[in-house]
């Protein structure tokens, strides 16, 4: 059901039809989904990649509706910003935030 929802959302976007470019240099983000999602499932990763037009790898789960992912694009690359914008615009994505480093204080 969860995969179906995500794939249905994906199918409704033009991004799904495009290639999945892979570029060097990772950028780690947190994605919050609109619904409970199997965040590590291949179908989810494929859909994210189709939407963003960059390779996406699963990093770690946070909650049933959020996880950390690595976008395979250099942070300074405009294509990376486009990928993030595309993911944020997707109706299945509630939020996308940079996965920043915190430190002890």
């Amino acid at each position: 059901m969860r995969r179906l929802l995500w794939m249905a959302l994906c199918a409704a976007t033009a991004a799904c039809a495009g290639p999945i470019p892979g570029t060097a240099g990772p950028r780690q983000v947190i994605i919050g989904f609109a619904e409970t999602t199997d965040s590590a499932a291949p179908a989810t990763l494929t859909s994210l990649a189709h939407t963003s037009q960059v390779a996406v790898s699963f990093v770690a789960a946070i909650s049933p509706r959020s996880a950390a992912y690595r976008l395979d694009c250099p942070p300074a690359d405009p294509a990376c910003e486009k990928a993030i914008a595309a993911l944020r615009a997707h109706p299945g994505v509630r939020y996308l935030e940079p996965d920043r480093i915190k430190d002890s204080r």
């Binding site: 909650s63 920043r100 480093i101």
Partner: protein, 623 residues
Amino acid sequence: MKATLPLGAALLALAALNAVPAKAAETPEARVIVKLKSASPLKQIQAAGRVQTLGQRIGIAAQLINQPTPDTQVMRASGISSEALAARLAQESDVAYAVPDRIKTIRALPNDPLLSHQWYLQAASSTQPAATGAQNAWNLTPGSASVVVAVVDTGVRFDHEDLVAKLLPGYDFIANDLLSGDSDTGRDADANDPGDYLSSADLANTALRTLCSNPASTHGSSWHGTQVAGIVGAETNNSRGIAGIGGATRILPVRALGKCGGYDSDIIAGMRWAAGLSVSGAPANPNPAKVINLSLAGSGSCSAAYADAIAEIRAAGVLIVAAAGNETGAVEEPANCAGVLAVAGIRHAGTKVGYSSYGSQVGISAPAGNCVNVGTGQPCLYPFINTINLGTTVPTSNGYTGINAVTIGTSFAVPLVSGSAALMLAANPALGEAELARRIKLTSNPFPTDSSLPACPTVTTDGQCNCTTATCGTGMLNTAAAVAAALDGNALNPTVVISLPDSPVKNTSLSLSSGSSSAAAGASLVSWHWVQLAGPATGSFGADTPSTTFTAPVAGDYILRLAITDSAGRTGVQDVTLSVLDAAPRSSGGGGGGAPDLTSLAGLATLALLAHRRRQHAHPAQP
């Protein structure tokens, strides 16, 4: 010389020894902690007198043992059990609560040898007004092993002798193996801290260098989680090292920070797991925490990822306490998220310590460690004394930070608050996270003012300033008062202050006001109800509003009551005596000249007496 007792004497001695416990068992000794309501007339006398009077009311001879807070007395009496004495005292109308004092062995300070250097646990004083008074709080509760504080940090050294008995099995949420630096792959069940040092080999690793924002040099291990865990819950009264503020509180170590820190995703996942929420790939947490300690921070506004998790965690009834940051600037993430109890750092003197971040999101301030007169060869006078591993990189033997070490940071203010919250939960397990935060704020001590410093947010060149409630929270953490408030169901009731007219005269419309009354943090005053309790005749009130009128038909003393209810449905009550005169006193102005006659002097004396009585009745909360 060999001593030999005759048989008869030995038997008598044995009989006498046996008689002592038998006699003690027949004569119970009661110890009770009692708090007076704000309107109690007993608050105008010394603590010993309060206890004596309370005892007289119920027909027993009671003595004061100590006074943990200004409103709270510990008392003893013979010939009655603690439970029975508490029950009888609780029926007194001006007693807020009375509970048995079951922790007799805690009367003496714990025997941890470094306790005397833990200045921040001592009672506040003129030389260290920021001290938390935790030692007095231990007279109210020793803490509870059923209360769990999660320390989301670098992990801990499970083999530290002052922590080992207090640690629960935690979890390592660091997914990135470069940051983690342990021998495990990804997240795992080992929350041990392997050291967060950065070596030359680490610097040579391009990926790790990038993660660490290209550091210029290597650094040693901080053992930060071990330090923080010790402040919360180092084993107390074990003849070793330091005492944790949380007494018997247990620690749940959650490892989320490694070399150069940790990703938000790992911190958030660790926070959720700590609260008992599910995280895919991690087993269910068998020991959910009631308090989450975040001695960590980073730049940025509160992200949706944190906001989401914080809402879930709060819904689970878990309090989140976080460091404001050490940037002498805006409060950092996640302390700047709504629903987090953000902690700023203050010096021993109560002023903002230079490095502490500050701002409107701060809820409370607490000592963060500061150094005074530090120069070559001089000690840091107000540091923290923490549990630590002594290895510079990888772990070696365990120990403590030195009493002269510069052990400072808002990281260390946070566990003082977390441990205080744990004590409050031990005293009253029914408290929710919002009630914990409210009581901590409500009971804080007001900030002092140093005339040489500007008021925050203006700061000196080294970042110091006089804290304000707009920049450093409601005040300075007062652990003893917070725990007392946890026991007190009335602690959050509105404070009612009634102002009376100067020269009340019969058959005139007298103005009464309550404009100085206040509600607890997060609440507002919503309704007012004025009534007359006693008097020579029945007077009449105006509307039930903050300010009203009262008309007394005859002269005499009228006892009036105002009950104010706040938006949370809590009601505060205050009674005052209004001494109404037959006629207005003659004015002393105008006419001047002649010496006063005896009648005038007598009238003035009467007025002075009446005014004195009115002040006493109008402000019974002032001792």
